[in-house]
């Protein structure tokens, strides 16, 4: 069970990363994109370079055994995995490192650390896998002291209810560990965000993570049957209920609360049987909007494909899924219960109505072949790219939103144009903005944009911020959400503040004061401290 340590810079654990082949493939695309032969590179930080300030607080004796002030521990909890995190690490800026990292073994430890933090006037930052790309785990700069609460040790499936297909699971469990502990029971959560390997159940719930299913059960929200949450005011547990109409849902107050109301310690989660039947494959369309129109109809059929992502031509090219002349739909049905011929047949009728050409339809593992398989592999490996590209001055990032269908096309064009313009203005040369859909609803899609710009060392942060600001303004001005599944954290706050109703923020602030009267938990995330 002894795993390598989490990296202090980059994705995942020490020893993991892009293969030479993947790196070369990516660099090739960037060379062609920017018309340059090479990318001047700056060195990446090593532990030996990092000088942290002395801890401003020391744990009480009773907590010393679960607390660490080790430099690697503190440095590995200084940042998340977003672009700004990479830039700060590259600048050897680890000022946000927490003074102490606590590794609670149980809820009593968590309550004790909260009490300590409250008494010491310290900010407490709940930490799962640390994969936030929005500053959700970054200790705040203006706190008197900071303690990161790493839930790594709460990593067990505690109880299985095979009849109801549910399990009681500790919040600090990582994705692969969770699936490994469910597998012997023939069960699966089937929640596979891109961060799956390096994110945790509690993190998914706290951030309304988006997962495997492109339709129906898109967010973790619907899989939560009940929660246990430790707050500074005490511990609460909701009932295991398949459904209820008793007042506003207590679970829904904590789902998406990003650690400001309490620390989720365990949850009863709704599970699935492992799929036995599959159908699907890739479908080519002449362009992205045609694919989107087909997908709109498909999303309204009630067929509920498990996957129906679409990629624009450039996105398909970038991931090796197509040659850049066509948009791609990755379509898949899965079931543990029944063959899917009728489902697939009707879905193919719909896509053909829009000129869609199935690539490998019908073969049982078509979802692992051709454009679909290519996309799937690239998707999983993508987060390893940042640590290789950012030191070369390449500003690559993504942002995602959701919008109703009737606004989508104009919205897409505005957001894309605003982002492209900002890239030109900020870097002095064109970049690239591509789009795919990660999830889709009967009333609209969740578009996911990627952008690539060639930046300049020393100015990368400002260049990124200019692009991010323009893109986010366009999203919010166009009526979208500042995040479909990446959460708000610290970086999306300005736009979240424009999005959420002021009176909801007032109500949420009041609720926080009731649960966290000393303002210990994640101050500045979602609402003002």
């Amino acid at each position: 069970m002894a795993q390598a340590r989490l990296k202090i810079f980059g994705w995942g654990r020490e020893g993991e990363g892009m293969t030479a082949e993947e790196e070369s493939f990516s660099l090739g695309i960037h060379r062609r994109r920017f018309g340059v032969a090479d990318f001047p590179s700056i060195p990446t930080p090593t532990l030996a370079d990092i000088r942290l300030r002395a801890p401003r607080i020391a744990p009480p004796a009773a907590l010393a055994g679960i607390c660490s002030i080790d430099t690697h521990d503190r440095a590995a909890h200084a940042h998340g995995k977003g672009f700004t995190d990479a830039i700060r690490a590259l600048s050897n800026d680890f000022a946000s490192a927490p003074d102490v990292v606590a590794y609670p073994q149980n809820e009593q430890d968590i309550a004790a650390v909260m009490d300590w933090a409250g008494g010491a006037g310290a900010a407490l930052i709940p930490f799962g896998g640390g994969s936030s790309v929005v500053g959700g785990v970054t200790p705040p700069a203006n706190a008197k002291a900071t303690i990161t609460l790493d839930l790594d040790r709460l990593n067990k499936v505690l109880e299985i209810d095979r009849t109801s297909r549910a399990a009681r699971i500790q919040a600090g469990i990582f994705g692969p560990d969770l699936e490994n502990q469910l597998r012997p029971h023939g069960l699966t959560l089937r929640h596979f965000p891109q961060s799956f390997e390096f994110s945790t159940l509690g993190g998914w719930i706290a951030t309304r993570s988006g997962g495997h299913y492109a339709t129906l059960y898109t967010h973790i929200d619907d899989f939560v049957e009940s929660l246990r949450v430790v707050t500074p005011a005490g511990t609460l547990e909701s009932r295991r209920l398949p459904g209820s109409g008793a007042g506003p849902s207590p679970d829904r107050m904590f789902i998406g609360s990003e650690g400001i109301l309490g620390v989720i310690t365990e949850a009863w989660m709704r599970l699935q049987n492992r799929p036995k039947f599959r159908a699907g494959g890739a479908v080519r369309f002449k362009d992205f909007f045609t694919a989107a129109r087909a997908l709109r109809v498909l999303s309204q059929t009630g067929l509920y494909p498990s996957n129906c992502r679409i990629l624009d031509a450039e996105e398909a090219f970038n991931t090796g899924a197509a040659d850049g002349s066509v948009a791609i739909m990755v379509l898949a049905f899965e079931s543990a219960d029944h063959p899917l011929d009728a489902w697939q047949a009707r879905a193919l009728e719909v896509v053909r109505d829009f000129g869609g050409e199935p690539e490998t339809a019908g073969r049982p593992d078509a979802h692992r072949e051709g454009a679909a398989g290519q996309w799937r592999n690239a998707f999983i490996r993508m987060p390893y790219g940042r640590e290789k590209m950012t030191p070369r001055g390449i500003v690559s990032d993504t942002f995602e939103t959701a919008i109703t269908w009737e606004r989508f096309e104009a919205f897409h064009d505005n957001v894309k144009a605003a982002t492209e313009r900002a890239i030109r203005d900020a870097t002095g040369r064109p970049g690239q903005v591509t789009c795919r859909f990660t999830h889709v609803y009967p009333d609209g899609p969740a578009p996911y944009f990627s952008f690539h710009a060639l930046g300049r060392h020393g100015a990368l942060m400002e260049q990124w911020q200019a692009i991010k600001t323009a893109a986010s303004d366009a999203v919010i001005d166009g009526g979208g959400t500042i995040t479909h599944h990446h959460a708000v954290g610290r970086e999306h706050r300005p736009w979240y503040d424009r999005q959420r109703p002021d009176l909801f923020a007032a109500a949420l602030t009041a609720a926080k004061q009731a649960l966290d009267p000393r303002g210990v938990l994640n101050p500045g995330v979602l609402i003002d401290p």
Copy 2:
């Protein structure tokens, strides 16, 4: 558009009620059930009998035009439609009648009435169709004065987005009016609670109403795309988003808030295309638990039937759906997009694995025939029974809950036995307790119990309360929810208080104080004033 007035006693509008045939059918069942030949009857209240106290407040001149102190208006807003409401009306107890009924024409009127109520120290009770069976619209006894806010005039579909299949709809619209205004667009909300005719969109959202679909979209919750809410602190509006991960959902704080946080004035609702394809019919099982086990498997297949209710043998007999020797499953699939043969075929395989015998499977309108059709008609007409049976001393009521599958059978037996015991203890003779499922989830069913006891005039309230208390204790002790879709109101408060986490109540109370600092809205519902 001029409709008859709502009754002051009984279900629906003046002039509507059970037919002589329906009444005779019901009485026949009660005679056999209790072994009596006749039921001594007491008179039902008429407007002329009702003496209301003089209004304790008078509207300011600016609001006089939308306010009424008419006796019928006040009496028709004194009670909901629950058993206790019927008993109080039969006792000519209209003490809960509001001092004033306000009929706002728009949000400005609502804000003005709220201001007036706040200044006058009056309690304000939002009122849709008044179909609450849990004391949700009953003005509180201890208020200085009470104003009922009847949203009847906010009855329009304001905007249709055919592309995204959504509509912006005013909250005071009744079910039939809503469907009538959507029909020309080929759209339907498909939310058909039993109260459909006499309940409103805003009421459904405020109480997390359960509707047409037995699986998947069981509650109104999932159909809400965005909300507008007037609170004493101001008006808020959430964004129209098909999905979002930006903090806890603002909508989910108001969905189920039962009028304590604000008055829902309009909502963008997700709609469906009108179904063109249907499959289904009734399936007979040897007993209820066998039907339940079949339904558990069916609920976990991913087939998502629109209907898959089961009735125990006594329930099936009482509604004329079967002869009392078998349990019945009412199974239906519907689609606007595709034939349902594959869905129906697989569902029938599942039910046959449990010895289920389809009655009329395969015929396109089988859902309107045989046991299924019989059940459907009885279901819609059922609420008209209370005004005829209560004056005859018949204590009939229902309660509903939800529980995970692995606890269901023991839970069912305990709840049923506790209720039967309470009927014997309270009335001195056996009654009847039956069960059906109204909704079903992969992790558990929503059992719906009906009970029938022969009470004694003068003691009906105490007898009912003893039975209700025993049943509710058994539900809560067994791990269920005190309500799956009837809401909490005033009557479920003692059990809701045992069910919801204390810290959630603290957070909700704090949120209410932020939005309703003078405690105007529905004091005593869900949380203490």
